[in-house]
Symmetry: C3
């Protein structure tokens, strides 16, 4: 007999006649709880492999948008950052993010600030109802698997912005700090039940702020400290276009990210074991999809109007910005609202990409417009569809997270720059990182140099 049936059956043995029915009821309720546990865990497993898939999406998107001489480096960085992020998250991040009340600094009631220390531990093999960590939630293994992917996604965002001139190892050091400290600490403030959640009532369903803007702030700090690619901005302030070397790959990456986002947002419902939960997940899937469509179409129409020619890279980033924008609240909007929230994301991208260039902030793949700007927009847009959101809660949380992540990232980048150096030599940059840093071309037979 499990812990659960013990609780249920205690105190209900009112009469001998009722006993069989009551015991039966207890068994039936226990089965229902187990079924819900399975559905919830399954949601995390499916959601997790979909968000894992986003790692491939970021990799393909970035490999397609850099010049061919830097592709092997971009591939290497993505493989390495994902692997490193995952292991660091296991060692430090998971318990820092989910202290389950055991805050090192703060408390659930007064506001949590810094979570717990320790490696992630899953349930024992062949767990029963009395050995799973939380019978009314899901298996810890599935939760860990799912959450790990979010930490890795945050790091992936940074990689694209800083492409084509950053050194591999300093970048990986930053990834370790980002996924071991910066990301989980700020994530604990909301998703670990910390002060943004308990004191400010901040709402961020799947991470427009907690994941995407965090990656965006870290990328922005890095882009500023690192400086633009050699030759990117002419003397007269003119932007020299650097063309992505493989647009099918970038498009594939976008489709992969779009697909993975169903897991990203849908899994963030955190439960699938009830009729209400699965119906909500269904809303989330449909809204996530339509926001991406809205973002893509908005960028298509807007680039046609502004430049007389549709711009594929803007359309791809428009779809992604739509996805980022809906991530803070994929549940409450109607399909129409979700489409508009996504469309605004696409519009933001089309205007923000040239704006960053004007500021000489060189973001190779458009990660800052997509993940930071559309992330802020999405977080504010919660106000339009979810009555529980407050202007103060949303705005203040965006600022607190932004200041924290940008400041810490900036300091880390500056320290790395001052110590090991973060940038390859100009010659290396001109020749390409693939040959100078790795000695391996991505397309040895294709390029017509």
């Amino acid at each position: 007999m499990t812990k659960f049936t013990k609780i249920i059956t205690t105190g209900v043995m009112a009469s001998a006649i009722a006993a069989p029915a009551l015991a039966q009821e207890a068994a039936s309720q226990e089965a229902a709880v187990h079924t819900q546990f399975i559905f919830n865990s399954l949601l995390f497993l499916i959601g997790g492999f979909l968000v894992f898939w986003m790692a491939a999406g970021f990799t393909m998107l970035e490999a397609g948008l850099v010049r061919s001489k830097n592709v092997t480096m971009q591939l290497t960085k993505n493989m390495a950052l994902f692997s490193l992020a995952g292991i660091i998250y296991y060692l430090v991040g998971y318990n820092l993010m989910y202290p389950l009340g055991n805050w090192m600094i703060g408390s659930d009631e007064a506001g949590g600030y810094i979570g717990a220390i320790g490696v992630a531990v899953m349930e024992v093999v062949g767990a029963g109802a009395d050995t799973v960590d939380d019978l009314n939630y899901a298996s810890t293994g599935s939760d860990f698997f799912f959450q790990l992917m979010f930490a890795a996604a945050t790091a992936s965002i940074v990689s694209g912005a800083l492409a084509e001139r950053i050194k591999l190892w300093p970048f990986l050091i930053f990834v370790a700090i980002l996924t071991g400290l910066i990301y989980p600490i700020q994530a604990s403030w909301k998703w670990g039940g910390g002060f943004l959640d308990s004191q400010l009532g901040f709402l961020d369903f799947a991470g427009s702020t907690v994941v995407h803007s965090v990656g965006g702030w870290a990328a922005l700090a890095g882009a500023i400290v690192l400086g633009a690619r050699s030759g990117r901005y002419g003397k007269n302030g003119k932007v020299v276009p650097f063309h992505g070397s493989n647009l099918p790959l970038a498009t594939l990456g976008t489709f992969i990210l779009w697909m993975g986002w169903f897991g990203f947002n849908g899994g963030s419902q955190l439960a699938m074991g009830t009729l209400g939960d699965v119906t909500d997940i269904s809303r989330i899937f449909a809204n996530t999809n339509t926001a991406a469509m809205g973002g893509a179409l908005a960028a298509l129409v807007l680039t046609q109007l502004l430049y007389k020619k549709p711009d594929l890279t803007m359309i791809l980033n428009g779809a992604l910005a739509g996805l980022v924008a809906i991530t803070a609240e994929p549940l409450t909007p109607t399909l129409g609202q979700a489409t508009l929230i996504g469309a605004m994301g696409g519009i933001i991208v089309v205007f923000a990409v040239p704006l960053l260039d004007k500021l000489k902030i060189d973001d190779v793949v458009g990660a800052i417009p997509v993940h930071l700007f559309a992330g802020i927009w999405g977080t504010m847009a919660v106000l339009f569809t979810n009555p529980d959101a407050t202007l103060k809660g949303q705005l203040l949380s965006i600022i607190i997270v932004g200041v924290f992540v940008f400041a810490v990232s900036y300091v880390v980048w500056m320290v790395l720059k001052a110590t090991v150096g973060i940038r390859v030599s100009e010659e290396a940059e001109i020749v390409g990182l693939d040959m100078t840093e790795l000695g391996m071309e991505a397309y040895p037979e294709f390029t017509n140099r």
Copy 2:
């Protein structure tokens, strides 16, 4: 207490002693219904993201089979058509396709012809048993998500056939009409319970006719009105081979489509909440897979015999034709029958591709043989394995759908041709659509022109 338990408990309160057991039975039955609802909705969510993935598959297949000078356009068209199709389907298509008895023209009994007008509306957030639209089916959100992907797939079929010479915006206008009117109206005739279903007993499990041949007919009409690519057919009637620029991409696209088809056919079971349903879905998965294998192998062997060399693009299209062929009835065949049905699809493709060229119908990727011809074959093949199918029902439905879709498509293409024009200039075609229409090369560093 939910609506369902109310119904169950009414009239069964026969005795006071029996009451606890009966109340318990009602609760247990309610739980079972909820569990089935969750499974059914989950089927649509998984099926939906798999069919979504087919959009990436079409995109990669087409991008790999066109020449490099037209790749960016093909990518742009696919991103745009998917997004547009989805939003149009939300605005118009979904209710037109599923009137749930509220026909504008016709009725469930006498035969439905034109469905209902209105945007798609999902259940409320946190729906309960009394607020879901159909407790014995699945969440409307999941159903909408799944069905939207089918509408988009129909449009994707058209895009490949007309590649390398069609203008972007007129193409998108056609997509809007196809996914907003043509597709949902004819789909309502069968899947909305309309006259093909109720009067003719037409059987088309997952859409060999309703989806694939519809895309194929629309593509055929477009290919005829649009004309062949410049230089494709020599003066002497000889076909000038235009080589696909990236066969790994085309192969990847085929694998993606194959994977997505498990959702396409499996999800079309429409339920997973019973032992019988999941066993049927298992049959469908295995049959879908083996039909693709049969189609690929048949094309491999046949091209070896006919041309002394296996032809990869035929093998890819053979696998896809196998998938299209099994789509009308993936459930009833045995594994052996399914393999043969798929193999015949592969054989059809090998013979139909040169036949179309003889007719100077220029189908860039082989979409018409794969989706139209194999779709017709698959629809007729239902007769071999499903005793409920009638020759009249299948044949007449193929003809009715074909005439409707081809005629309307032809008129729309002609009107577009006469008004805005549908074809780029010959110079643009020779230079490539990427530079002339979009100003962006797909592989700026690779091509040795």
Copy 3:
């Protein structure tokens, strides 16, 4: 009333008063069994499409690692081998592998050696509790679908090692023998309940030995009989590097394989219908992921240390070796142990690749280090985390399987070499198999030859 409820209700009709509750209990238990059946079948369906996806992963990995002149052939071989393997497995392999006690040679008790003959047969359409093959397991269709993918994966392993010089048709003959006889016979020894399982207590959860080393042994035999690629090993014993033509494709292939491995290992739990099973699957997902991360990071660090430059292809193979290594026991290790088991896989690859070259065994993609060496390591590593494993059981089984597969494969390759020939001419090899064997270039516009 189903078979199950009959059993339950027989002999429990103790009293008239208890009857309603007991009938209710029987119904409730029946529902629970059905729910478990659905979950179990769903696990195979999801696991199956994920392992299917690995076919695309192998294809992309191999297409990326061969030179551009052999890419079309590599794509053709992968499409063909998957299709052929699946159909052969249906015709012969499935029942040979799972005799369900009906051994042609041997018995469950004394040890099974050769399974049963016959094509695979799924349950009837609309199966009920009394017509499914095993109510306490999963639908046969889903099991067949899942297992078929493993047979195909085994064949995929061989294809990469022998690339760039083997003829298509002899290769496919070998694939037929491998997937129709070699693979299912040795797999029956463990997974069909044969003598390795019943007599030796061999443990191999998802196939480090049964799948991966089998592919590896077959590849090794083939590589020896076939000989190295022309020009690969210089007169002075120096290895001439042949560069992969498309590293983004190889990286994509690795990500695809990694994703598919969640199905490969997770699905091998064979059940998801209980709280314990889903918790175990969660462990497996997390461990599988972290082993890949460990393998990738180990290869990254080690190549940096050894060669002063990280080597992307080693990192990719390191991740894959980590996955192979954890496959024999993805359940019992902790996250830390799984990371180390995977890391050791990555280390093995970094040392084994040059070792094979020293032996002039030319393995184009590193399949032998990844699948054979890391497979052996993973099979032995079970001893560290699973107390049920015995040194004798593991070691002897590795040897028995290795001797059987290598010897039979070697003979088959020799016979093929002596009869139809297995190698293209040297001219063909220099020109490339794409033009000489298939007449179709993979990238007709890119290569700068």
